[in-house]
């Protein structure tokens, strides 16, 4: 999506080799699917509220009991979403431009999140692949645990209008853990 402009407009010194990183990945294609859980689409999507899975080069996350978000490169997201059944009460909306999306990666990632969010980030409550919606620094966010190799990592998605504030709030919380901004 060449004309995409992130809500995070400030520039930060890059620290790609920091042990704990925050990355603005808002340009990732994002499609919202709402469907009745009895619709064929819910079967196609294959994950229930609170879980995610990687399929066909996309990340499919069940963010509400009747709502899913598909993330990934634009062609793969478009192809995957097109293949989800339209039968019954189903709506599909590309909201790439409407959401901010960040990734926080590193062993201390959960320690940063627990400063700004009341969710229990312990592995037994929030394992790799788990999805939760919660207030993060007073902004309602969808959070998906999506580890990168052995590294603990979370996607954080909010409304676009809160993006710059949220990015700075997370950086501020991560300061004591030497969080750096990675490209």
């Amino acid at each position: 999506m060449s004309d995409f402009a992130s809500s995070v407009t400030k520039t930060y010194p890059e620290a790609a080799d920091a042990a704990l990183t925050l990355t603005d990945v808002s340009a990732t294609a994002k499609t919202l699917i709402r469907a009745d859980i009895t619709a064929a689409a819910a079967q196609d999507l294959g994950v229930a509220f609170g879980a995610s899975r990687v399929v066909d080069g996309t990340l499919v996350a069940a963010t509400r009991p009747t709502e899913w978000v598909v993330l990934g490169p634009e062609p793969q997201v478009a192809a995957y979403v097109a293949a989800v059944s339209d039968a019954g009460h189903v709506s599909k909306v590309d909201f790439t431009h409407g959401r901010a999306l960040f990734r926080i990666t590193g062993a201390d990632a959960a320690k940063v999140l627990e400063k700004v969010c009341s969710i229990d980030w312990a592995d037994n409550m929030m394992p790799d692949g788990a999805v939760v919606s919660a207030s993060l620094a007073k902004v309602t966010c969808d959070i998906i645990r999506n580890d990168v190799g052995d590294a603990r990592s979370y996607f954080i998605m909010s409304d676009r209008s809160s993006g710059q504030y949220l990015f700075d709030a997370i950086l501020d919380a991560g300061d004591e853990f030497n969080m750096g901004v990675a490209p």
């Binding site: 709402r34 859980i37 509220f49 009991p65 919606s133 919660a134 207030s135």
Partner: protein, 106 residues
């Protein structure tokens, strides 16, 4: 902090939810008298003890649910979804709700 047991999300900080109010059955709009509407809209029982309430999980699953809270201790007794018969739901958390989504009610 007060923990509110959302039937979808599990126990959550009450700041993640919106307190809707005491749960009363809505009168029939075709037959209700002004007094009955006024009672439904404005009057509360406000007991010191168990109270059936409606909560909205605004930062979590965005579903409405009813729960019985003891107003003296802030302990919740059960947590069915609206329309469910109290005591008839699976007491375990994290089941998938079959209630309608509540778009536009954030």
């Amino acid at each position: 902090m007060m923990l509110v047991p959302c039937p979808n999300c599990g126990p959550r900080n009450s700041s993640d939810l919106r307190y809707v109010g005491e749960s009363h059955s809505r009168p029939n709009p075709n037959t209700a008298t002004p007094e009955e509407w006024r009672t439904y809209l404005y009057m509360e029982d406000n007991p010191a003890g168990p109270l059936k309430e409606t909560w909205y999980c605004r930062s979590g699953c965005r579903q409405y649910f009813t729960a019985v809270r003891n107003t003296s201790t802030n302990e919740f007794e059960n947590h069915p979804l609206p329309g469910a018969k109290i005591g008839s739901v699976d007491p375990s958390f994290h089941y998938v709700s079959e209630s309608k989504s509540v778009e536009g009610n954030q």
